[in-house]
Symmetry: C2
Subunit: 252 residues, 2 copies
């Protein structure tokens, strides 16, 4: 296969991925604009520490998590192991950024004497973060560390994919809850008069939903799943016969 | 095939469906308990008209919508046309109940002088309802009315399935937003003290998420998809050859 051009991407995939990235970047910009224009900006110290929370959660738990899910579609002609590493690295980065966002809200609550973990937003958010961490650890254990057999990986993979997409959806729903909480705590009386902050924050919510829908569509469309490369298929049979263990094949 | 016992359901499917129904009924009971115990109950006239809204939306847009999605898994050995009719009827009933819930909130707002359609909850909810109605009309047009060709149905079906699951997820997210709005409008000052109403309403939120996850898992698990019955496969070929039109075959 050396020297042969890589197979072309399926029709439409690149356009949908481009739209997802455009929506994701617009989402980040709109979140920044909301916090900068109407909430005083972002800082680690003082009153503005709270604002680190929404920025980090949208960046980590939505944008980076979504892009980590897309790598098997975008880098469909790269070696499976490199794509796996990128998938794990992006999710790892998302987890670190989300952790910074969680620390920010707990510290901000402590400074202001506000109770923690009483709201539906906090319950959903903590569940999403803890399960996302567990999913990442299990993913590394099953698919990156040596030791898991071919059959164990095959049985775990569908669960890993379902839980991954479900946690992405739960993360987006949790962000929508956070937007509603922030608006009702800050502009409760003027929200119903369609003030610019309310309209902008609602738009951030719609962008979150739109990003989730486009990423979800790209991930679940059958024809766009990553096919095993020719050399992976050959290797897969050899590995299976020799070791009953690792197989780099199979669509993801 | 006459007289032969129907094929058994795949292992685990019945258990997951039973869990989904248990979660769904618990969700309805918990919603009723919240409205009855802490919000004064439900009535079409007067102050309590608002409470018709959450009850109808959870019943229509979540419980019935979820069950309508499950019919192809639960009635996997029934004739395709009967299952389709049931799928359309349950979605139709869900739409009617949701419409009652929407009328209730608009009338309640008018009586109290509250503005409509300013919140993220209302934007997401109206989008979900309108798209759900469009999806139902398109589904009836493509799959129940005569006229749509076999190839047109085959091309539309994956889009119908993706949009169906996405709207179910958006409906659940919108209910979570509604719970948060109700709590922050009614018990804003005591919510952070873990008062029983707050804990119960948060639990309703977790039940919504759990119902969505179990239904989503049943729907997306490959081995649980409805296989075409033997007589459908034979008919499918005949129909296709004869008419290039209708085919009752294909897994759903």
């Amino acid at each position: 296969m050396d020297g042969a051009p890589p197979p072309a991407s399926p029709t439409g995939l690149s356009a949908y991925v481009a739209v997802s990235q455009l929506l994701g970047l617009t989402l980040l910009a709109a979140t920044g604009a909301w916090l900068g224009r109407y909430r005083g900006g972002v800082a680690w110290q003082g009153q503005l520490q709270f604002n680190v929370h929404p920025l980090c959660m949208v960046l980590g738990m939505v944008f980076l998590q979504g892009d980590a899910l897309l790598v098997y579609r975008v880098f469909r002609n790269e070696a499976k192991r490199s794509t796996k590493m990128l998938h794990a690295l992006l999710h790892g980065l998302a987890l670190v950024i989300a952790l910074v966002g969680i620390v920010a809200v707990f510290e901000s609550h402590r400074a202001k004497g506000i109770a923690d973990m009483y709201s539906l937003h906090s319950w959903c958010g903590m569940a999403a973060f803890v399960l996302y961490l567990v999913q990442w650890l299990l993913g590394c254990g099953f698919f990156l560390a040596p030791g898991a057999s071919f059959s164990l990986r095959s049985r775990y993979k569908p669960q890993h994919i379902f839980v991954g997409i479900a946690l992405f959806a739960l993360s987006i729903a949790t962000c929508l809850l956070g937007i509603t909480e922030m608006l009702l705590f800050n502009i409760r009386d003027s929200y119903s008069q369609f003030v610019p902050e309310g309209v902008l924050a609602n738009t951030v919510g719609l962008l979150l939903v739109a990003f989730g829908l486009v990423v979800g569509y790209v991930l679940t469309r059958d024809e766009w799943k990553r096919p095993p490369l020719a050399e992976e298929l050959a290797l897969s049979m050899d590995f299976k016969t020799l070791t009953e263990g690792e197989s780099p094949g199979g669509s993801q």
